[in-house]
Amino acid sequence: MLITCPYCGPRDVIEFTYQGDGNRERPQPASQDLDAWNAYVYDRLNPAGDHNEIWQHSGGCRAHLRVVRNTLTHEISSVAFTRGHHKVAARHKAEGKI
């Protein structure tokens, strides 16, 4: 399986660390809503089909990526930075590095 890192280009899956379901929403740190915390930690959608998930390019640029991958076919339909990095990527693209 190849994941196309928006910064580094297509790389083998062994360079990446899976960080799981990207649909979960972490409550604010001060939140005392136990149900929301429990849901964040334990509950999963676990779809058979497109799955919104977080990977880290730990063996590369170390960026955190939001990946949409089909859990039946392993086809990846989108990869994006979870946040930030966009300007760096745009600059590298403009400079022809990626």
């Binding site: 399986m1 899956v13 899976y18 509950d43 999963r44 959608l45």
Partner: protein, 419 residues
């Protein structure tokens, strides 16, 4: 006379083997049953068997989407053990071990249960201490466990690299002598025949497509072969748990589906006479009666419903095997395959009433479901028949995650890919 015995073999051999009956019938689904079990794998079939045998509930249908035993009961590496640390797990898996020890007689079907032992290798003094702790915890609850020295291990498994120059030198091991292996297909077929002979309808190629409701109560299912009603609907679908629960309107579960691969080599002469696990990675191996080495390693590591694996894990498993057995470098691998595991958030299963009225749930087997097959069905049948859990499965609730009562044997936290 038992249906399968030396006498019946001889009699049928003399009469041209014309009188054998199929091991189970192929009935069409009736309009209603007392209990529907969704999932014709090991756990669903053993549930139906114990419902009939222990509780006298024989008006039961087992609905299977594919053919019988096409899922994980036919895809595992067949190890049976009860070497856990936490009391809830130890009691449950030891109950399973005791059922295994009499299973061939009970089913009148040879499941080829072979108590050849399971040896966990320790590669650091700290790991050896941890194994001593686990061994003591097991013995405290009446389960056999013994520590082995490197010299004893070298005598038991001569092919193992026990030298001080090995990549991960072996400092000792924890052995459970009563552990071993069983023939996985025979377990599915034996339970299926036992349930069928007691009146259970095993219906293959019958996919559940939705749930019927009577008010807030589940009252049956819609299937690819029509509607089937029952006042009790039990779900035992392993890796498909999330998909089936979604049909009942439950969108999230404390479960992720991951793929686990397994491998078989060409047949060798007797090479290893125990189930061996590697302590510096995730690798386990035994030798089948046919001679092939049966082994596996870690999950691929990301959510997957594909019953096939990826190459990086193949590479990792082979390197772990060679770290232990350099002499296997030129043995050929014959087959590999993948199964979809229902990885729970604490590595322990769920066997419970609910979560909806009229529904019963059995899931979260991670990759330890095969050894649990007898006790899982036994406890699930009790839970269905009496509408409450037996003491043995009472800790394995669905709401334990939200109540802070997780049973995390490895202490990994809510990271299913690491259990």
């Amino acid at each position: 006379m038992a249906e399968y015995s030396a006498f019946s073999l001889l009699k049928n051999a003399l009469t041209g083997n014309k009188d054998w009956k199929p091991a189970w019938r192929k009935p069409n689904p009736k309009a209603s049953y007392d209990v529907i079990v969704i999932g014709g794998g090991g756990h669903g079939l053993s549930t139906a068997y114990y419902l009939a045998k222990e509780h006298g509930i024989t008006n039961v249908a087992v609905l299977e989407k594919g053919w019988l035993g096409s899922g994980n009961v036919g895809r595992n590496t067949t190890a049976v053990r009860s070497n856990y640390l936490l009391p809830a797990n130890t009691r449950f898996y030891e109950h399973s071990m005791k059922l295994w020890e009499n299973l061939s007689h009970d089913l009148n079907y040879n499941v080829m249960f072979s108590q050849r032992g399971c040896l966990n290798l320790a590669h650091t003094p700290a790991q050896f201490d941890e194994f001593a702790r686990r061994g003591n915890a097991m013995r405290h609850l009446g389960v056999d466990a013994e520590l082995m020295t490197t010299a004893e291990i070298a005598r038991l498994v001569p092919a193992l690299d026990v030298s001080a120059t090995a990549r991960f030198p072996i400092v000792g091991g924890l052995m459970q002598r009563r552990a071993g292996t069983a023939r996985h297909d025979a377990v599915a077929w034996g339970y299926a025949r036992g349930a069928d002979r007691r009146g259970v309808d095993i219906i293959e190629n019958c996919e559940v497509t939705g749930f019927l409701r009577d008010g807030d109560r589940i009252s049956g299912v819609t299937t690819s072969r029509g509607e089937v009603r029952a006042s009790k609907v039990a779900v035992a679908v392993a890796g498909s748990t999330g998909q089936v629960m979604r049909l009942a309107g439950i969108d999230t579960m404390p479960i992720e589906s991951h793929v686990l691969q397994a491998f078989v080599t060409e047949s060798l002469k007797p090479f290893i006479n125990t189930v061996l696990t590697f302590g510096m990675g995730h690798f386990y191996m035994s030798q089948s009666d046919k001679g092939g080495l049966v082994y596996g390693g870690d999950l691929d590591g990301y959510n997957s419903y594909a019953q096939r694996g990826s190459l990086p894990v193949v590479d990792e498993v082979m390197s772990e095997m060679l770290a232990l057995f350099p002499g296997l470098a030129r043995v050929r691998m014959l087959r590999n395959w993948g199964g979809v595991c229902d990885m729970s958030m604490d590595g322990s299963p769920i066997i419970t009433t609910g979560p909806l009225r009229g529904m019963y749930l059995n899931c979260g087997w991670c990759y330890g479901g095969f050894k649990a097959t007898p006790a899982s069905g036994w406890c699930f049948a009790w839970t269905i028949a009496k509408d409450e859990p037996h003491d043995i499965n009472a800790p394995f609730t669905l709401d334990r995650f939200h109540r802070g009562l997780v049973i995390d044997d490895k202490g990994q936290g809510a990271m299913p890919r690491l259990h």
